[in-house]
Symmetry: C2
Subunit: 349 residues, 2 copies
């Protein structure tokens, strides 16, 4: 099944597909639009608004990981008010994961919900954040704590946007791509291995993004509101979030996912459900993609404490998603403390 069939909305992937945004607005029967963008991609966003026949207001916001706040939400609401957006106005968000989360949440709640179109401009947004209908802002008490499940009318991922990204930002998305490859199986994993050593400019981005969208869409479709199968997407993330927090977010999410995948593999190895050979393949791929496999010097106790904090919020018990083989994961695994500790120790030295 196509992502559109699985998700209920189209995900348009390709080079130059940016120009299709206006057509999608028309197809959705929406008369008006407003473009909200990350200030970093304002020039790009202007191309979106210029593709409309009439004049479409555009508002740029200074975003960044630390600005996904209630204050930013208030500013977005104010912009929607100023531009006289109403329920027949298409809100077009242009930017990376932060932009999609913030603009998507604002659209989902302004007047109790305006239609939203997500133009993803970062690799993380294209392969992960923009797919699945999750929007959120951070609260002082934690990341992504307030939000909404709200499907966009469409997601547009123009891979030409990746050309202008610094390599470090491309790398932010590679951890999630490796995670998707583990969920997907041998072929997807081998395909990534074959790309190692090639410059990003030569990667077949349209195909890669489309395949990652397909993997995520298949998981999300069966579990829109989280409670079952979607847990698979947490592979490596219980560790990753703890590493991020314990580093006071000096470790970016993308790098934390890389370390977290290695840690999940180490734990699965100790738990007896993952092979040494697969773990070595995983670590080789992480290294080949120049992703970190440890955050040296991080306090082990701080990581473990962050992990307990995280899970205590949910049900008081630590439960992990672990790899079993390429194409197979196990969910809801309660690990012995010693196994968790050892995996963390390995990834902090």
């Amino acid at each position: 099944m196509t992502p559109e069939t699985l998700l209920g909305y189209p995900v348009v992937v390709g080079a130059g597909v940016l120009e299709q945004v206006a057509a999608h607005a028309r197809r959705a029967g929406l008369e008006r639009a407003v473009v909200l963008c990350d200030a970093n991609v304002e020039a790009y966003a202007r191309r979106v608004s210029a593709a409309f026949a009439g004049s479409v207001p555009l508002r740029a916001f200074r975003l960044g990981e630390e600005r996904k706040t209630l204050e930013s939400l208030a500013a977005v609401y104010a912009a929607l008010g100023e531009t006289e957006a109403d329920r027949r106005t298409l809100v077009i968000g242009v930017g990376g994961g932060v932009a999609g989360d913030l603009f998507g949440f604002a659209a989902a709640t302004y007047m109790r919900g305006l239609p939203f179109l997500n133009v993803a401009t970062s690799l993380v947004a294209m392969v992960d954040a923009a797919i699945g209908g999750k929007t959120a802002i951070d609260l002082p008490a934690g990341k992504n704590l307030a939000g909404a499940f709200a499907d966009p009318v469409a997601v547009v991922a123009d891979v030409e946007a990746l050309r202008s990204l610094p390599e470090a930002q491309i790398r932010e998305g590679l951890g999630e791509m490796i995670k998707h490859a583990i969920l997907s199986g041998q072929a997807a994993f081998a395909r990534l291995e074959a790309l190692a050593g090639h410059a990003f400019a030569g990667w077949p981005w349209s195909d890669l993004v489309a395949e990652n969208v397909a993997v995520k869409a298949a998981v999300v479709a069966g579990d829109r509101l989280e409670g079952g199968d979607r847990e698979r997407l947490n592979l490596g993330h219980t560790f990753a979030h703890a590493f991020e927090r314990a580093s006071s977010y000096q470790l970016t999410h993308g790098n934390a996912v890389a370390v977290g995948l290695r840690a999940a593999g180490l734990a699965a190895l100790a738990h007896g459900t993952w092979s040494q050979r697969d773990q070595e393949r995983l670590v080789r791929l992480l290294l080949a993609f120049e992703l970190p496999i440890a955050h040296v010097g991080l306090d082990v106790e701080a990581v473990l404490a962050a992990m307990r904090m995280d899970k205590k919020r949910r049900d008081g018990r630590l439960r992990f998603v672990l790899p079993r083989a390429l194409g197979e994961v196990a969910c809801g695994i309660e690990l012995e403390d010693a196994i968790v500790r050892e995996a963390v120790e390995h990834c902090t030295r």
Copy 2:
């Protein structure tokens, strides 16, 4: 059909039903709960938390019409964080319309949605605000501008809570009850007429609340997300909102609805779709209930400007819901300016 069948969740109405809250939480399979309340009804809310076997945290907030803000939302989110609420925690909101809107929106968005149970303690909340799954906060640009459609797991309306309310607060709900009676028909309207002159203490509140819930549930059920039939509930409200705004909210919503119903009747009369006899019956009932039928001295131009502001946000045209007969309304009516002006003039002198 019962409100539960229509809405998909139970609305428990009666004297002493407060004690059933804990049972509803158990029925919903929820292990934990947190009680959020308007500080004005904290003693009442303590009875809710005391009805649970284990300890249930309670947080009280100073609310009021002017506090349905993003700042209050941040405070509610913080309380949910402090009490370690998660997706299996039932959020119980106790209070009037403001409390239900604010706590309901917080619950709908915290962790992308916690289950919510609405304990309505004001007449307006019982007969109107708590029914229909609409939650919201105000923004600087306007009232109820940010919110969510989010059904509660149950609504509990214990009419004993009405006993302690000042008469003015009871009266806040009477306008909506008259509106529902017009939507409902002769019998409901005559029933209200028969109550005129009797002290509130002697009114059959359980029956009255249950009937109002049934009227609203029937309208809402056919149009959960607003777009069609739900517009009927706007009877009198285009005028009412303009009166409220033009008075800088010195006119309360309940009183504005009373004036707005009269204005809608006057406009319908001039439009030729409502009888003089029915209009006189309406005005007599408003007066018998000691509700205002005008806000003397209000600037007519300010009211008309407020009305244009309101509608411009939606589609640039003024459209009204007008009464046709008891039990029949007409939606989407575009009135001549002169008719609107005359109705407003009558209601400001």
